[in-house]
């Protein structure tokens, strides 16, 4: 047993070492590429470049350099305007209108990073050159794309004008499409969703989050819940807090409703509006509705971010 172990160990050690060196090389290459493109795309260098644009330098310029400059400019647009358009060609050989209009929506989250961009690809309606319809998109399912599409990008109705429309001309829907309004409304809903998620996440962090298996210390009681907002399905629970809240979590991915649970058995639910206020709240305990807590939840400035502060100021309810 002793004779076989050392070489095996050594082999493993060497393998491990090689692997770690490879990982380091990858990391450094990654870093180099990152720094190189940051440098090339930086404002200083690009400015100097533009100063010499008229001269013959332009032809000698590395394509890498030009690509970096272009990319930086695109990124500036994406950061500044949040919704940007781009052309895309449908590779399908059977498509009648392979040229698609892509709309990209970038949304900045609480941690200063941008979320995965959302895309909507629009294509021309067959026969009607000026009209667009949604071809493909990456919008989450709870945002009603077909409703937005019907509202802002209506197709000319195939049925003849109904009697009602003739009698009430003001009710006649305008058949014109409004792509700007469509993108604006879509972006508003996406941004509101991310703000709601960020707000709930912030409330949870303020209360303290314990992750199961990571910073879990022996006691197994408490309400373990799966964090539906994160990609990995890890289970978390709230740390002990003086508000007595054992659970605070969104009821669904769209984070419109947040469910609360207190240590004394009270459960509550509140609705976050698109503007970030607590719109409605219900708290039910063993003795029926807890009106005072409900008023505290919706009271004050009504902001969802300050819900915990308001609860802290609340006089503990007499039982």
């Amino acid at each position: 047993m002793t004779s076989t172990e050392p070489p095996k160990n050594m082999e493993e050690e060497l393998d491990f070492e090689i692997e770690s060196i490879r990982a380091e090389i990858r990391n450094l290459q990654h870093k180099r590429r990152f720094l190189a493109s940051s440098l090339l795309g930086s404002e200083d260098i690009q400015k100097r470049l533009r100063a010499h644009q008229s001269t013959t330098l332009n032809d000698e310029l590395s394509p890498l350099m030009r690509a970096a400059g272009k990319h930086a400019e695109i990124n500036h647009h994406r950061v500044a305007f949040s919704a940007t358009a781009f052309p895309f060609k449908d590779p399908s050989p059977n498509s009648e209108n392979p040229n698609l209009l892509g709309v990209r929506i970038d949304i900045c989250a609480r941690n200063g990073r941008f979320t995965k961009p959302y895309y909507v690809l629009l294509k021309r309606v067959h026969g009607e050159e000026k009209r667009l319809k949604v071809h493909q998109h990456t919008i989450p399912a709870f945002i009603p794309m077909h409703v937005l599409e019907n509202l802002f990008l209506p197709l000319p109705s195939t049925r003849p004008d109904s009697e009602e429309e003739n009698l009430k001309p003001w009710k006649k829907s305008t058949d014109s499409q409004d792509l700007n309004a469509f993108v604006r409304e879509l972006r508003r809903q996406l941004a509101a969703w991310h703000l709601r998620m960020d707000a709930v996440q912030m409330l949870r962090e303020n209360l303290g989050i314990i992750r199961r298996g990571v910073d879990d210390y022996d006691d197994d009681d408490g309400v373990w819940e799966r964090n539906i907002l994160s990609d990995n399905q890890e289970e978390t629970r709230l740390a002990q807090n003086d508000l007595g809240i054992v659970s605070l979590s969104p009821t669904a991915l769209d984070t419109t409703y947040v469910r609360l649970e207190w240590h004394d058995g009270r459960v509550g639910r509140f609705k976050i509006s698109d503007t970030g206020t607590v719109e409605r709240a219900v708290v039910i305990g063993d003795n029926g509705r807890d009106k005072s807590t409900e008023i505290v939840l919706t009271g004050g400035d009504g902001r969802v971010e300050t819900v915990l502060d308001r609860l802290k100021q609340q006089v503990p309810p007499q039982l």
Binding site: H71, T138, A141, N150
Partner: protein, 477 residues
Amino acid sequence: MVRPKSIRAPTTASLPSNLLIPSTTPSLVKALGKLPRQALLDLVFHWLDDRNVQLFAPYLESDEADNAEDEGLGPYPAERTIDDVRNAYQELQVRKGGKREVVDRILEGDWRHGVTLRQLAMVDLRYLDNHPASLRWTALELTRIGADGGESSLTDGLACVPRIHASTFLNNVQQQISPLVKAHYYLARSHSLPLTFLRIFVTTSPYQHPRHSAETLTDSSRVIYVAFPDSSPYVYTSIASSSSSRSSTNAFATDVRSLQRIVRDAIPKALSLPQQRYALKATSLTAKNLQALLALRGPGRSNRANGAFSIFADAVADGSPLDPRPSNTVPPEELINQSKLEAPAKDTESRKENDSMTQPSGKRHRDSDTDILIPPKRKVAIHSRFGTSGYLSSASLDRFDVRILDRPQSDDDDEEADSAQPTVSLTFAGSDVIAGIRKLAELGIVDPERMPSWMTGEEGVSVAVVRQGNRVVKDSG
């Protein structure tokens, strides 16, 4: 738990969860034997937990006093307290051995008086959790029915994601089907996927304690599964037939299929609220893999972006606006993991998987540099057609039926006036059809530039009717 055998009246209540199936039923051994030893032990500990032990009371010495006739005959003497039962299973936990001894201990020892319907449901769901591909699932879409019977009204900006309150929903289902079907319900959360499972067991007897044979109670064909994915307007069922063919069946039939139909029709009604009625619509997607259903009819980004457009769903088209690197210099594997923390261990793992490329199952993580055999031009074409599907994405269809309505000849010029129009039906089957077609394209068997887009999985369906390379969508369906 002594059941009153004297009174038997038809009721509209559901089958009680504590209805006992006699432990001597042979199929119970099979049902429990599906689970591995550890899963069985986990379940037993769950049953014996302080909070649950009332519902799953084991057989104790005190029970023995009541019916003293078969005292001391069983191989497992009754334990004195619940703690003793727990200890017995702790011992099994420590000891290594087959699952058979655990099954025997459950059926002949501690639950010799019978296993409840709820326990059987828990066993089934545990099996489903461990084997997500053990059933065929059909995705159905929940749609709002407006007052005029058409699509939902424009003023209401909400998507069709009904909020489900478990007990209310079950009450409603029960109200819908109770005159026709007697059922047992079990609702549970999946351990591995963002899904909620509803297991419905159906019988025809109107009696609370039916005098069915015990075999009926364990008959797996009488079990219907419904899965509700989180925050998405879809429902998955294990019922094979599509919802469109509902009209012609005999209303008085009491076979298992019509019972299932009754249950399926009840689900959208139970989800409906006043002024907010839902209907189920077929979505032409049936697959074994629940992951694939979640990817194609789930809450996420990839519902309407597959095939060539999967680069957008996986956000590998270009990076974050704060990334200074032009997107064409960054490998897609890196972009896909952008939101997650970078783990160097993952890279080595994917490299190891490269060697097992020929294995049909599992996700295919392949570095682009390893496929040196593919000409670069074809590789570019494949990437533009398939995007990341069949390569980084994991929506694996096990079966893909296509009916082609075009005439079989290649040229349109020499059209003959024949009345009989043959149609060509293709069926692809395998562990991952789209990945297979991608592989064929890599090998040069399929021309990646000329193939129609349904071959890339762009439509996200498992049944398609195709004309001139484009999918024909029936308005009625």
